[in-house]
Symmetry: C2
Subunit: 372 residues, 2 copies
């Protein structure tokens, strides 16, 4: 904490019971954005529909003078320009990314921060160099325990001025499962500015806070990193001040493409009586998805949806579909994912002070019109 | 109004004095998004940073079976596929677009709808066929007075089920100033889904409600169009029920790139003492911008900024810059645009029930740190 920032850099807080979304939360919601849920229809999310969260500003980064350094506990420190990075064999992976704060705005009480409902997700094909290849090139010294990643995005948060930084245990950073990428392309094109142009980290299966954008420095350290994002911000805590558990991998979630058409203002869905196909996507960063279920009665009963056949993209969402015959009146539809380790989604909110990992099942209110 | 929609399709309303942003407004803010203001640095806004407002859902539109019809009061009705549209000589124009509701969430009382602050803007190069060329091909009958444009986006709004539709007076639709385009490319690539893939209208100088996306039908009419968006939604009204004036062209606005770096939560900007370059963009749909001014004392005094030289893109924003020497403490920065017809931005809110055309000057709170 740094007194120079006075009252402009507030501590974390919970909203009061009747408090609507504040102007500051709205300012975040107006610049960051989620996936419009009908865009779940695309296997690969176009960049402008993929969720984006930028903590500070999008840096004015240019590819032609960008340098990535690899230093700290290595035998041969590296300084790599983009041409050098492109000279390594390229790997492309399809990855579903999700913000750790997805679902935060549905919590009671609501942690005041970026107010996501359920839409902070997207899937893209990322191309780059495996991080383990760069680490092997530099030669990691035996004492190293973590790799710390620094982005060019700079700001202040709860009184701490910082470049955005995040660390991974060495076993994850240097391992091949998941294959961590230093990525320079998204869906076959150079990274867009908001997704880290010209270079970012991609850590399949982990929440977004690990996917460091505008990546310019990798430092191997002999002790665990104690930076702000790692030890203050992204922790599962029930009470302020407790150490909490670290936020790491993505909990399972299924989302349904809202059927029918919307009312502009209430966002309630409208369908006509009769057969209504239901479809969506399901994913988990903990293990492959093995089951998707739907409920059309507000979560009282569930039935299995048909999962799309495996296509080898184990780090990306999996499609599912189910049928439903709509009858006039009001309905609440839900979907639920379960993975190979038995992790699933709760029907009651998994609350914590940061509003992380809230994978409470989605609820879509549908108004079925009377018979014609 | 259609009773079948019951209470899911509410009438327009104003927020109560102490009412925060509602869950429904947040749902709109989470899917639609503005331009992160640092992205004013780009002459051309990348698609994922350009503002997007989608009234209903993004349609599942495919280029290979898309058809545009031109009918109604014409001698030769046309049905054009994308290949036919591409066979006409292509025109490319750089155009600044802005949502008519930009600034709505800063109004008191606040009209409840998409809650924009100041960021609903973007500039792109749009490529397509001039509308006047298509109308000449079809042969407009003498009795025609308007052209009505229908998109494929479908929903319900204040009880009215509809495809999104908007009309232009024939003189605008068939004229060459502005050059109205039926556009199939944005910044040299096919339109992204959220910007109207595969076809949209581009009406330079008009607010976003005229830029019909997912365009599939043009109908020439002998009487003025009385559709929902034209006669109910997009009107300047002081009181409910009065006819009001139509919302048409873009009022002048200047925006500044927020200097320094932000606090994550308060979004307050932080700078260090000393010279701070100020820069931004200015535009008007009414006439070319002829003046940009800045204030660093909360709007009490103003001085001229330096405008970028004219570059022939009269329908796009114009860059400006100014210098400022920051001193420790709190400052409020503003910018203001004036156009060749003397239109400028107010220092008090120009309120109306729909929250349209609110070009109140931007205010950026800056915290300048103490001397080191």
């Amino acid at each position: 904490m740094d007194g120079r920032f006075g009252d402009i850099s507030p501590a974390g807080r919970l909203a009061e019971p009747a408090e609507g979304i504040s102007p500051e939360e709205l300012a975040l919601a107006a610049r960051n954005h989620g996936l419009p849920l009908e865009a779940l229809r695309y296997d690969l999310t176009p960049p402008g529909l993929h969720y984006v969260l930028v903590h500070y500003d999008i840096p004015a980064a240019r590819e032609d003078d960008w340098r990535l350094t690899v230093g700290g506990g290595v035998r041969t420190p590296l300084t790599l320009d983009m041409a050098a990075l492109r000279s390594f064999p390229a790997v492309t992976q399809r990855v579903t990314m999700e913000c750790a704060g997805n679902g935060r705005a549905r919590l009671t009480p609501r942690p005041v921060s970026q107010p996501w409902l359920v839409e902070a997700v997207g899937t893209a094909e990322w191309t780059g160099v495996p991080l383990r290849v760069l680490l092997a090139e530099a030669g990691v010294r035996p004492a190293a325990v973590e790799a710390v990643f620094r982005g060019a995005d700079h700001g202040v948060e709860r009184g701490v001025e910082q470049d955005y930084r995040w660390s991974l245990p060495l076993a994850v950073a240097a391992g091949g499962d998941p294959e961590v990428l230093v990525a320079y392309a998204m869906n076959g094109l150079p990274l867009p500015p908001q997704h880290g142009h010209p270079l970012r980290l991609v850590v399949p299966g982990w929440y977004g806070m690990a996917q460091v954008k505008w990546l310019r420095e990798i430092t191997l350290t002999d002790t665990p990193f104690t930076g702000f994002q790692q030890t203050v911000a992204y922790r599962y805590r029930q009470r302020a001040g407790e150490p909490g558990e670290p936020v790491t991998r993505i909990a399972p979630r299924a989302l349904m493409i809202p059927p029918g058409f919307p009312d502009f203002m209430s966002r309630t869905r409208v369908v006509r009586p009769g057969p209504v196909p239901l479809e969506g996507r399901a994913w988990s960063g903990l293990a492959p998805v093995t089951k998707a279920e739907v409920s059309t009665d507000c979560g009282r009963s569930w039935r299995a949806a048909e999962l799309a056949p495996p296509d080898g993209n184990d780090r990306a969402w999996r499609g599912w579909r189910a049928s439903w015959t709509a009858e006039p009146g009001r309905h609440v539809l839900s979907a639920r994912a379960t993975d190979a380790e038995g992790n699933t989604q709760p029907l009651a909110q998994p609350w914590n002070r940061g509003g992380f990992g809230n994978n409470l099942v989605q609820r879509i209110t549908v108004h079925c019109l009377p018979d014609d």
